[in-house]
Amino acid sequence: MNYFKRPTPLKRAKLWLSLALPLVALIWIAAHFAMHDSRVYSSGRLSNPHAVFETQCAACHVEKAGAYSAKAENSACLACHDGPIHHAEQTRMPNCAECHVEHRGKINLSAASNQSCAQCHSELRTNGGAAHFSANISSLENGHPEFRAAATNHDPGTIKLNHKLHMQPIRSAPGGPSVQLECFDCHRPPGVTKPWIYADGKYLGITASYTDKDQFLTASSSSLKARNPATGRELMAPVKFATACAGCHLLTFDKRFDDGVPHDKPEVVHTFLMKKFGAYIATHSNELHEMQDPSRDLSGKLLQPRMRTLSAPQWVAEKVAVAEELLSHKTCAQCHQMTKQNLPDTSIARWSPANVAAGTVTSIANLAAGGNSAGMIGAVAPANITLRWLPHSRFDHDAHTGFTCVSCHAKALTSTESSELLIPGIATCRTCHAPGPNHAESRCFECHTYHDWSQRKEVKPAFRLPALHTGGE
């Protein structure tokens, strides 16, 4: 009758397993304890850069009474890394481990969560009065304002360029073949070394008298310096005449010469012209005696041929004036805003009756005497080229090379005025950068830097390799 008390094989197996398995677990834990191996209690694997500390809990966790503190101390992080502050006006200084969460496996430690940033930026307060930035940003999707540049929708640049025209088949030169320009033919990051298709060798090696500083707008001073050095492929370099324009836009000034004027300041151009015409007339003195070409009468009437004789300086001054008139009114003005037109009476070159009667020209005489060393080309407005449209963030064109330029800069296909801003707005970014598995990274760190690495201090090394291997000094 006591059959139910007899152990069946199933009951026996259950009993033994119930004893054996907890015992194995106990032995496993006890073995780690006996070997002072705390790894088993670790809340997760360390990231790759810290993998050498996998067995060195004390490197980050302070040991108190034989037990390690749960939280890594800031001093442990700062022993190897400097962590410059974000902004001098920030009201809260988070601990390193609040944003850089370790023991999460092989993750990117610098990839802080949006919540880390939102701790301050969702309700931004500063020690220095009102915040300069939007005060309620939680993430790219929540509260992030439109890019300031895109919101103003205005390009302060003064270079006149019809993007629509340049995106269509276009003649490369008068009488030249039609070409289809690619964005890359004009816009490239400085790190790209591929030869320029529409460059002109005459201009490439020449040092101009103006500097980039005169032409570019300075980037916002509040932008934080990134930690890693730039690759030179992040942002587009400003478009230069020598590399992108000179192949088609010739700066010719007179039919006597094949080459054009230098792409430089007006006074440089004037000096060039004076020298060029001076050298020419020295070897072509017969051109000082001129007979007016009837066909040049604008009224269409056949006029009696008129003769005149000029001195060499007069001839040079007149030709320079005519060339400068051409450059100022057409060639330069095609792309540049000429803010000052100080051309004198250019009828001197038009055989005005007064000039013919006099056999000479007063104004030309003045010019020849060196009355105006800057010439007659108006002042050229600074190009005001914006080097960095998103000064508070990092954008890397190189990371987006798989996409066509017009995917983001769609307005380039239709823009006819250079004042139209062609950088995309935040909505374009959000089409790819969004939360979820089917989207690109959208957390704050993707574009923004927390630590201001311009404030970086050098760190004195604290570890020796043998110490890492042996677990102590």
Binding site: L17, S43, A67, Y68, Q115
Partner: protein
């Protein structure tokens, strides 16, 4: 334990607890700067509640050791074990923020997952298999007695064979009035050969011993030639099957067994048919015992995984709790 409408209250309570925890977890996970971690206040709270549920579930084993103690109804304990034990999994996942963490915590998470999954599997089996057993094993006996009953069935078959074919050299461990499982005597009065014949099927089916005896036909001893096919079949197939039922045997499948017996019946004289029918019934009962055995292994085999792992889980969970709170 049967999963029926009586579980509704526990189901609703469990859903309510889960939804409440989820409602707390989601905003916490979305707003926590470091993400959800076990060391945060809410993470710790989830961990403590989850571990408490695990302890309660584990206490069922201890409760079963003292069935006479007035500690609440066993049914309530079992339901609590089932539902709170199941809830421990999502709560512990909330505790760790769905990260498995380091070595110990990873071991703990897998132990918990396997324990819960094996428990759910066991609960499903216990809900499903008893119905099948009621239908397919009408001759169900006490599991621990299956070996004994199987031996009695074999001896019963041996006696029937010797009554028909003469002495075959079998040895018996039980007397004629063999005691059957559960302590009842299942026998009937014998025919001319005074050999006890099997009546368990009739008795199990509700017939009285007297009725079974009345139905027993007269048995005539067969000569060597007449009994040869039956003896061959018995010694080569039936008896080995009764001693050690194997699934590879054709007698383990009802349809094929029926064909086998029909073939034997064709070769044997009509006077042996009653005994062959009896042998067929013995075979059927042995087959049902095998099926019961298999179902029993399924019904209780999962406990070989569930109980040892849950004990290891509780032990290591306690170590984890102490170490986590200490550091």
């Amino acid at each position: 334990m049967k999963l029926d409408s009586t579980q509704r209250t526990w189901l609703f309570i469990s859903i309510a607890i889960f939804v409440a925890c989820l409602a707390i977890y989601v905003p916490y996970a979305l707003t926590a700067p470091k993400g959800p971690t076990g060391g945060s206040a809410l993470g710790l709270a989830f961990g403590i509640v989850g571990f408490a549920f695990m302890l309660f579930a584990a206490a069922l084993g201890a409760r079963k050791r003292v069935p006479t103690w007035r500690l609440g109804r066993a049914q309530a304990w079992m339901r609590g074990h089932l539902w709170l034990g199941f809830l421990a999994l999502p709560l512990i996942l909330f505790h760790g923020g769905f990260h498995f963490g380091g070595t110990l915590t990873r071991v703990l998470m897998w132990l918990l997952i396997i324990t819960v999954v094996s428990g759910v599997f066991g609960a499903a089996l216990q809900n499903y298999l008893p119905k099948i057993m009621t239908n397919d094993v009408p001759l169900e006996t006490i599991y621990d007695e299956i070996g004994h009953v199987r031996r009695l069935l074999r001896e019963e078959a041996d006696r029937a064979m010797e009554s028909l074919c003469g002495p075959l050299g079998f040895k018996y461990t039980s007397d004629v009035a063999g005691q059957r499982a559960g302590g009842f005597t299942a026998m009937r009065a014998l025919t001319a050969t005074t050999v006890a014949l099997r009546t368990s099927a009739a008795v199990s089916a509700g017939a009285s011993v007297a009725t079974a005896v009345a139905a027993a036909p007269e048995i005539i001893l067969l000569n060597e030639e007449q009994s040869a096919p039956l003896r061959r079949f018995y010694l080569a197939e039936l008896r080995p099957y009764l001693e050690q039922p194997k699934r590879s045997s054709r007698l383990s499948e009802a349809g094929r067994a029926k064909s086998s017996f029909a073939a034997v019946r064709t070769l044997a004289p009509a006077s042996a048919h009653a005994t062959i029918t009896d042998l067929e019934e013995i075979c059927e009962e042995a087959r049902q015992l095998s099926l019961q055995e298999r179902m029993h292994r399924w019904l209780h085999g999962w406990l070989l995984v569930h109980i040892p792992l849950s004990l290891a889980l509780i032990l290591l969970g306690a170590v984890h709790a102490v170490m986590a709170l200490r550091y």
